[in-house]
């Protein structure tokens, strides 16, 4: 296992799929679908393999030695006239307790999305090429432990997403696609700027690959110092160059850096004032893309905050954690209120995503191991549950070409199996015990109550609101009498069951026995919490 480059394999498997797809005639739709489904299922298999070989006791986060499945090759080494200094960019892939869960989630959601892509009929070849490219970007983002590499993968996702929404989406697809692209790019260019600033603020010694010999200058025989992009090395305060832009603690530059980075991720989460792209993108995107968007792309925001915003600017994150928690609560309540007002099924779920991602922010803002574990679990659970919800919306939309909640009624009798699956998804989404989301929300509250009591109490109101809109929707759509025009609706097909039942199984399994997934991440989150606590005294000194 140690010798196989598993992470490269799981990341670049879709590239193989793309090459094969490129040579399949465009009329051969079955083969095209088969390739993508094959690739994504293989990714699930590799992800499970990674999971089974993952050692839970290693923390990762800021300790480069405790990452697992590490692949590291020098990519760009610029040691020149000291113009830009020596720059070391590595092809550095690795997993810790935070990213392994995300990889697992990405593999599952991609496979579900691939199955949900059967409803695509126009230009199938182009669709799957874009879908596989998106898949590379998603996997790579979670595996990359070099900031430059991370940024490359992060941006690679934008273009395929633009085309997937813009070509295969609904009526206002062009508007939604460009809005998504511009919003996300605006966020990520600030990440780009901070990335460059961080690289100029850090210097480390490097070893000759495969040895423990430090690279030295051939003339002076002194160790060469490199500006590194390695994420764990960048978190090391001893690597910071005195007098550089991000040196020191609690400086104005570091506040600016944190804001810029946080903005990039807040757009992705999405945090409330920056969330307006999400309902548009979700409503216009085809089912499979909504699944991937909600299932994986939103998680990159939370992942980025945990790994980068907290990791690079810990003392700022501590200083501003109350505001982070506040925005988390606003997300929860505002998202839930907006969801209540929707009559479009898909928009309703989009806003419920906004609400649920608020728990992620709240969990992160708690800054303790329980809360952050809760946030990571919430990301995983929300990924699975929304993937399921969007597939369920798709099922109805494929049959009726409408998503108006009020147009339906009495579907419980008409489509009993569909009803059962919707009940599971809804109950999980509203946080009922024995379903997955209950566990993660409980963890979030457990953590955040220790830090922010008042805000946590307000946040619990969000749970009631969530229950309110999900139960109302259930009542409107499934009870009462079936309108005349929907008398001929058929129940879920075999293909839909194949994509939905595994998700339902995960939802229930995670609700009853979440141990295996929690074990994956707690050690890492404790490591992150310890890392933050080492800066807590700085925070105390910064207070007036």
């Amino acid at each position: 296992m140690a010798d196989i480059p598993v992470l490269s394999l799981i990341t670049f498997l879709p590239l193989v799929g793309m090459l094969v797809t490129a040579f399949v005639p465009r009329a051969n739709i079955r083969t095209l679908r088969g390739i993508t489904i094959g690739v994504t299922l293989l990714q699930v298999a590799i992800a499970i393999l990674i999971w089974s070989h993952f050692k839970g006791g290693l923390g990762g986060i800021n300790d480069p030695k405790s990452f697992q499945f590490v692949e590291r090759q020098p990519w760009i080494r610029i040691s020149g006239l000291g113009l830009f200094g020596n720059v070391a960019i590595d092809y550095f892939m690795g997993l810790d307790g935070l990213s392994v869960i995300m990889v697992l989630l990405t593999a599952i959601v991609s496979a579900v999305g691939a199955i949900a892509s059967f409803s695509i009929e126009r230009n199938v070849k182009g669709y799957f090429l874009m879908y596989l490219l998106l898949d590379i970007g998603m996997m790579g983002t979670f595996c990359a432990m070099d900031l430059f590499l991370f940024y490359v993968f992060w941006e690679v996702m934008l273009l395929p997403m633009y085309f997937l929404i813009g070509i295969w989406g609904g009526a206002r697809r062009e508007y939604a696609a460009i809005k998504f692209f511009l919003y996300t790019l605006l966020g990520s260019i600030f990440l780009f700027l901070v990335m460059i600033g961080l690289s100029f603020s850090n210097q480390v010694m490097l070893f000759i690959p495969g040895t423990h010999i430090v690279i030295t200058n051939p003339l002076t025989h002194r160790p060469e110092l490199f500006h590194t992009f390695s994420i764990p090395r960048m978190m090391d305060p001893t690597a910071r160059i005195p007098g550089s832009i991000f040196s020191g603690l609690g400086t104005a530059w570091r506040y600016a850096g944190f804001f810029a980075m946080f903005f990039a991720f807040a757009v992705k989460i999405p945090m409330v004032p920056f969330h307006t792209w999400l309902p548009d993108a979700h409503v216009e995107a085809p089912t499979a893309i909504s699944v991937v968007l909600a299932g994986v792309l939103l998680k990159m925001g939370g992942y980025g905050i945990l790994r980068l915003a907290l990791g690079m600017f810990p003392e700022i994150a501590i200083a501003l954690s109350w505001y982070m928690a506040l925005f988390g609560v606003i997300n929860i309540v505002y998202g839930a209120l907006c969801a209540m007002a929707q009559s479009d099924f898909k928009k309703l779920i989009a806003y419920s995503s906004v609400s649920h991602m608020g728990f992620v922010l709240l969990g992160i803002a708690s800054l303790n191991a329980q809360g952050m574990t809760g946030a990571v679990l919430q990301m995983f659970n929300h990924g699975i549950v929304t993937a399921m919800l969007f597939v369920l919306v798709g099922v109805l939309y494929d049959r009726t070409q409408t998503r108006g909640v009020l147009e339906f009624g009495g579907l419980a009798n008409q489509m009993p199996r569909y009803f059962a699956l919707v009940v599971i998804a809804f109950f999980a989404a509203l946080g009922l015990p024995a379903f997955s989301m209950f566990i993660s929300e409980a963890f979030v509250f457990l953590g955040s109550f220790q830090t922010w009591q008042a805000l946590t109490i307000v946040a619990t109101a969000g749970i009631i609101l969530t229950a309110a809109y999900f139960l109302t929707t259930l009542q409107r759509m499934f009870f009462g009498t079936v309108p005349e025009k929907w008398r001929s609706l058929t129940d879920v097909t075999f293909r839909e069951i194949v994509s939905l039942v595994p998700l339902a199984a995960i939802v229930i399994a995670m609700g009853i026995y979440p141990g295996p997934i929690i074990d994956l991440t707690t050690v890492s989150m404790s490591a992150l919490a310890n890392f933050l606590h080492s800066y807590a005294s700085v925070h105390a000194a910064m207070l007036p």
Partner: protein, 559 residues
């Protein structure tokens, strides 16, 4: 003795050491010159249209030979040793050889007073320009508009060779007179080529505007040069800088406003060549009216040569601090403001265009602004970043123009609305165009991203000249790239997301049109398209060679 006169007499003494042997440093330009004459002769003696075609291939071969001879002038460069030189503050040029001047090592003080310098900086530009010109000739062979007049291909090819001589000399010039001459040589060939479609209204307008603006700005520039001569008594840029250094009287008191005027007026001519605001007015009309390949050449090679001249002028005449001494005129600040206005104006104007070629013209103004921003740092990082960007820009911009040309060949339009639904008819060309546009925006994994990465790095890097990094300019640059995404994407959206207006209207009436036929492109055209696509992707993935190459260029600035 007056130190100024002393220096001047030393220079005069050194220049007496003229040697015909130094002509061997002039081989690339001689090759081009002989090729230029041969191309004219060839054109005069051939009658048949088919043999005229041969002229284009002949010109490509001449350029390739000139490029090879240029590469031979490259001096293997060991960055580690250069760093030692930089530390020791040596005045010696480690590697550069100077034409029409004493050879290396004879006299370290007067070394470098010549008409042109043959250093790695020059070689880099020469090779870049040669590649640009070769690709332009290759593109021209696929242009339907040019092929409609086969009798004039010979004339066209020889003019490109003439243009190339001028562009070869521009970044090499180390004398104000030589700078002016090379700039004019480039411009004159450029005027004729811009108006090559003389029978069309746009073509005539393009040539006229180009001439008028060119004449005005080069007139202002030579006036600026004359002020430099009046102040120092020499036209050699290194001598000027030396005299400024040893004789503070030349740039104090009443002389200071004169120097300001001299710098600003000189920048006019160079700003015109790189189409910086407010000397850009010719750009949209010339880019629209000239033959597409010439538009590409002007926006890539001619701009590169202009930047070469500008860098040479600014860093040699008025070196910023950190290189040798403080600049007597704070040109970095002037450039910073100019860069900001240029990029913002270019992008906002590009937003309003409905013609793709005009849009690319305005966007090329914006790209000049990005590069000026890096120069405004006044550091060698900035220079290296500009060189990297120019190399990357060559492929993406010329590639974009080539794709536009191929589309124009088949649908006869350059309007964004006529691009609608084109993806179904020409998927390869449309995909390639999207790659170029994405690269121009600066999104990974394209070369444009690497270019932006280095430009922004130069702005964010610790900067001794400004005290703090030019962060405001870095933010302006990246926000501008988001702005540019909007209009680049409009082209992509038209091709991929929309359907032709007619088809959409008929569909409303539920009339099905037959599927539009695929556009067939010749195999050479497709191969050429890949010649552009491959570097754009490959440099985005592995840019180490490019960075190493450009770092080797800076030996020209060490002294």
């Amino acid at each position: 003795m007056n130190p100024q006169l002393d220096t001047l007499s030393k220079i005069a003494h050194a220049v007496q050491g003229y040697s015909a042997i130094s002509l061997n440093n002039f081989v690339p330009e001689l090759v081009l010159g002989i090729g230029f004459l041969a191309a004219i002769l060839l054109d005069a003696i051939t009658r048949r249209a088919r043999s005229k075609q041969f002229a284009a291939f002949f010109a490509m071969a001449v350029l390739a030979v000139a490029a090879v001879f240029s590469i031979l002038q490259w001096h293997a460069f060991d960055p580690l040793h250069a760093r030692e030189w930089a530390r020791s503050g040596s005045l010696v040029f480690p590697y550069s050889q100077l034409l029409f001047g004493p050879m290396l090592g004879t006299n370290s003080i007067v070394n470098g007073y010549a008409m042109i310098a043959v250093d790695n900086f020059t070689v880099f530009f020469k090779v870049l320009i040669a590649i640009g010109a070769i690709l332009t000739l290759a593109i021209s062979l696929t242009s339907r508009a040019l092929q409609a007049e086969p009798q004039r291909i010979g004339e066209y090819s020889s003019l490109i060779l003439g243009l190339s001589i001028g562009m070869f000399l521009m970044p090499a010039s180390t004398d104000l007179v030589m700078m002016y001459l090379s700039l004019e040589l480039t411009s004159i060939a450029g005027y004729i080529l811009a108006g090559f479609h003389r029978k069309t209204e746009h073509g005539a307008e393009a040539a006229l505007k180009y001439i008028l603006f060119g004449a005005l700005s080069s007139g202002l520039m030579i006036y600026g040069f004359s002020l430099f001569y009046g102040l120092t008594g020499t036209t050699n840029i290194r001598a000027i800088s030396e005299i400024f250094r040893i004789n503070p009287l030349t740039h104090s008191g009443t002389n200071l406003p004169i120097i300001w005027a001299a710098v600003i007026l000189s920048l006019v001519g160079m700003g015109y060549k790189i189409s910086a605001f407010p000397f850009h007015f010719w750009t949209p009309d010339v880019y629209e009216g000239a033959p597409v390949p010439i538009t590409g050449l002007l926006s890539v090679a001619s701009k590169a040569a202009g930047f070469g001249l500008l860098i040479r002028f600014l860093f040699f005449v008025l070196p910023p601090s950190g290189l040798s001494h403080t600049p007597i005129v704070p040109w970095p600040m002037v450039l910073a403001i100019g860069a900001f206005v240029t990029m913002t104006f270019g992008n906002i104007a590009a937003l309003l265009q409905s013609n793709v070629r005009r849009m690319l013209a305005y966007s090329s103004i914006a790209h000049s602004g990005y590069m000026l921003a890096a120069l405004a740092t006044g550091t060698l990082q900035g220079v290296v970043a500009v060189l990297i960007y120019l190399a990357v820009y060559l492929f993406m911009q010329l590639g974009a123009f080539f794709a536009v040309l191929l589309i124009e060949n088949s649908i006869g339009s350059e309007k964004v609305e006529d691009y609608r639904g084109l993806m179904l008819r020409a998927p390869m060309v449309c995909s390639a165009l999207v790659i170029f546009l994405v690269s121009l925006t600066g999104i990974p994994v394209t070369a444009g991203f690497i270019g932006k990465f280095y430009l922004v790095s130069a702005l964010v890097a610790p900067n001794s000249l400004h005290g703090v990094p030019l962060l405001w300019l870095a933010i302006a640059l990246i926000v501008n790239s988001v702005l540019s995404l909007y209009y680049y994407l409009r082209v992509a959206a038209a091709m991929f997301l929309k359907r032709p207006l007619v088809a959409a209207a008929l569909e409303e009436l539920s009339i099905e049109l037959p599927k539009p036929p695929r556009i067939r492109y010749s195999i050479p055209a497709m191969v050429l398209l890949f010649v552009f696509v491959i570097p754009v992707i490959a440099l985005g993935l592995f840019f180490q060679p490019l960075v190493d190459l450009t770092s080797g260029v800076i030996n020209a600035f060490l002294r």
